[in-house]
């Protein structure tokens, strides 16, 4: 003999007055109780069952950095049998399925996590829902997931001394480094302000040509040099192989050089090259003073000298190579090992390596609110 559940009036129970336990929602209980009172307890057929219904379906982590895990949960009432469940993460704009997660429903409950990943360039405002398919039902999330934005900063002036290796009995030689940095929404912007001073034989037209060449060549070299490198969130669960197409877990870089009439970071004296075929003059930087020959001796000369102004050491053997201890991460070796020849080691070579962007990485990590970034590929 079977009896209706005294709450829902549907599920069969073994004793009169028992409840099936599946009707957890008060509203459901109240409704079916009213229906049951109209229809007294009676014997029913074995074919009658309590129908499953979507319960709470929601993100339990509603905001996180791109690459972090966001938890979600779905409950289905009506005592559905345990079994497979499919979670579909939906595109914020067109609702298409961007990722399918296979899960298990146990006791009417589905729980899982999604490694969050931006889907559009508007990731900062995108709202991402999900749905769960289980027990013949499709349950839609009642809330959405949004991405936490990276902090930004105002322009920060960096003014420090770059020391040369100490020599016994000789005062430590230092070179001054001055520039500005700004952590924008999607990149670090580095700004270098120069003031040029023509020396004998340099006309106004030549001065303009010099400034244009310095700006064009140096910006191209340092900006293109960063294209195959990434400042990437260390905690991104996609790891070093992250293929995220947007800047949500990555930061870009851009160098801007401006020639100014005042408030410069560095002075540059323009020296005319001797007439060919006389040996060409090499350009140099020192302390707060630089003398650069125009036209440059090599096509990479100005980019190399700008490198010194951005805090780089020479990577050919001199008395002023990187003084940090061997093994220090992102140290600049001298001489540069074979296979690592670069802008700071060899004339005519415009290659830049991850170690040349170490100061940018430090700046990002000083502004990112304890969310640490790494540079990829790693420094060698």
């Amino acid at each position: 003999m079977s009896y209706h559940c005294s709450e829902c009036g549907r599920t069969l129970v073994s004793r009169a007055g028992d409840t099936c336990g599946a009707c957890a929602m008060k509203e459901t209980r109240q409704r079916v109780q009213a229906e049951h009172e109209e229809t007294p307890e009676r014997e029913v057929s074995h074919e009658e069952r309590c129908e499953p219904v979507c319960g709470a379906t929601q993100w339990t982590v509603t905001e996180a950095y791109c690459g972090d895990e966001a938890n979600l949960v779905c409950t289905i009432t009506g005592n559905p049998p345990d079994g497979p469940a499919i979670i579909e993460i939906l595109h914020p704009e067109n609702g298409s399925v961007i990722e399918t997660i296979n899960a298990e429903m146990t006791g009417g409950r589905v729980e899982s996590t999604w490694v969050t990943k931006a889907q559009t360039e508007n990731w900062r405002t995108d709202e991402i829902p999900f749905r769960v398919k289980a027990a013949g039902l499709t349950c839609n999330s009642s809330n959405v997931f949004t991405f936490r934005d990276r902090p930004t900063s105002n322009w920060t002036r960096k003014d420090f001394m770059r020391s040369c290796p100490r020599r016994e009995g000789v005062a430590v030689q230092r070179h001054r480094t001055v520039y500005e940095l700004n952590l924008e929404a999607d990149k670090v912007k580095q700004r270098l302000k120069l003031k040029s001073f023509p020396t004998g034989g340099i006309t106004d037209e030549t001065k303009t040509a010099f400034e244009t060449m310095v700006t064009t060549q140096s910006q191209a070299t340092w900006n293109n040099g960063s294209n195959d490198k990434t400042f990437h969130r260390r905690n991104c669960q996609r790891g070093d192989e992250c293929d995220c197409a947007f800047d949500c877990c990555k930061v870009g870089y851009e160098l801007e050089i401006n020639f100014v009439d005042a408030d410069q970071h560095r002075r540059v004296y323009i020296v005319p090259q001797p007439d060919p075929p006389t040996a060409q003059i090499s350009s140099w930087c020192r302390w707060d003073d630089s003398r650069w020959a125009y036209p440059p001796k090599a096509v990479t000369t100005y980019s190399h000298e700008v490198g010194h102004m951005l805090g780089q050491y020479d990577e050919y053997v001199t008395r002023c190579n990187d003084p940090s201890a061997a093994g220090t991460l992102c140290r600049q070796p001298a001489p540069a090992p074979a296979g690592q020849h670069n802008l700071m080691s060899h004339s005519g070579n415009s290659t830049l390596l991850s170690r040349h962007y170490r100061r940018i990485l430090s700046f990002i990590n000083s502004k990112s609110g304890n969310d640490t970034y790494d540079i990829l590929p790693e420094c060698t």
Binding site: P277, S282, H304
Partner: protein
């Protein structure tokens, strides 16, 4: 003898003597050898000039008169289109003169630019080892050089010229036969020769075009400058392709061996962008790859002679 730019690859006898000299200095510091009397006799002089800072020129002179000079660019000696290793035994009178030059003013007290050197620019280093001490002086491009030091530098440059009379592994580059056709295609023949006494290995010119560790360029400029612009601004570099003997970069040897007295000839071609008129040209051959397989290569930038085109 293998081409190299530092003392470690000199022959064994030379290295042994250098070791003895350095040991003598150390023992002298320890008081084991009686101090030298008033006349300074040097044990070693090393003179480094960073025309190309990544591969500086280096001259070493020993007390015995044995001297070597490794050059990696001829840009200050364009009248000699060659680079490489030179070795000689200097005349005793020249050695004596050097000793005198270094004692006219106490070398250790001469002002130099140590501690105030710029990054980049033509820098020089003079490293003097005597039986009693060791002194290193740095001279940079940014500050004046006092007369006593300049006098020493002038003498050292003179010794360089003396040593260069004895090439050991030296690559010479010359160009001839310039032709410009109606379509402004320029053709030049490049001759690479070994003017030393020993075999040398070099990077094939065909391997240097569009490389990051070297280059091959035809440099051209007007014979007389155009008014209103800097003459040096009118220099135009042409990246050539090699018509002979290597028509393709792939498949051609990466390195070439030249026996003493041997030469190789290459036809370089490129589009000449200049306006009709009198021009001059030279070729710049530059290699920064030091080793290929087991062979040490000629490293540096070599300018050929300049010819009218």
């Amino acid at each position: 003898m293998t081409y190299s730019r530092n003392a470690h690859n000199m022959d064994r006898a030379f290295k042994f003597k250098l070791l003895i000299l350095i040991t003598s200095v150390l023992l002298g510091h320890a008081g084991c050898i009686p101090a030298e009397r008033s006349k300074m006799e040097f044990l070693m002089i090393k003179y480094t000039v960073a025309d190309l800072p990544e591969t500086p020129q280096e001259m070493i002179i020993l007390k015995s008169g044995e001297a070597s000079y490794v050059s990696h660019t001829n840009e200050r000696f364009l009248q000699r289109p060659e680079i490489g290793l030179y070795e000689s035994v200097l005349d005793p009178s020249l050695l004596s003169l050097l000793g005198t030059v270094f004692t006219q003013h106490p070398f250790s007290t001469l002002p130099d630019h140590t501690g105030n050197m710029p990054e980049g620019g033509l820098s020089r280093t003079v490293h003097l080892v005597t039986s009693s001490d060791e002194t290193i002086k740095q001279i940079g491009p940014a500050d004046p050089v006092e007369s006593p030091m300049q006098n020493i530098l002038n003498h050292l440059d003179g010794v360089v010229q003396e040593i260069m009379k004895s090439p050991q592994q030296v690559l010479r580059a010359e160009i001839t036969s310039p032709v410009i056709d109606a379509e402004k295609n320029l053709s030049i023949t490049l001759h690479l020769s070994n003017v030393g006494k020993e075999n040398l290995w070099l990077r094939s010119p065909s391997q240097l075009v569009n490389q990051s560790d070297g280059w091959l360029l035809i440099e051209t400029w007007p014979e007389t400058p155009k008014p209103g612009t800097m003459w040096s601004e009118q220099k135009v570099n042409i990246k050539p392709y090699l018509a002979e003997p290597a028509k393709k970069t792939d498949g051609s040897p990466a390195t070439l061996q030249l026996l003493p007295g041997a030469s190789l000839h290459f036809t370089l071609q490129g589009n000449f962008p200049g306006e009709p008129g009198a021009y001059v040209a030279r070729v710049s051959y530059c290699n920064f790859m030091e080793q290929f397989s087991t062979e040490s290569l000629i490293v540096g930038q070599l300018f050929t002679n300049t010819i009218k085109i």
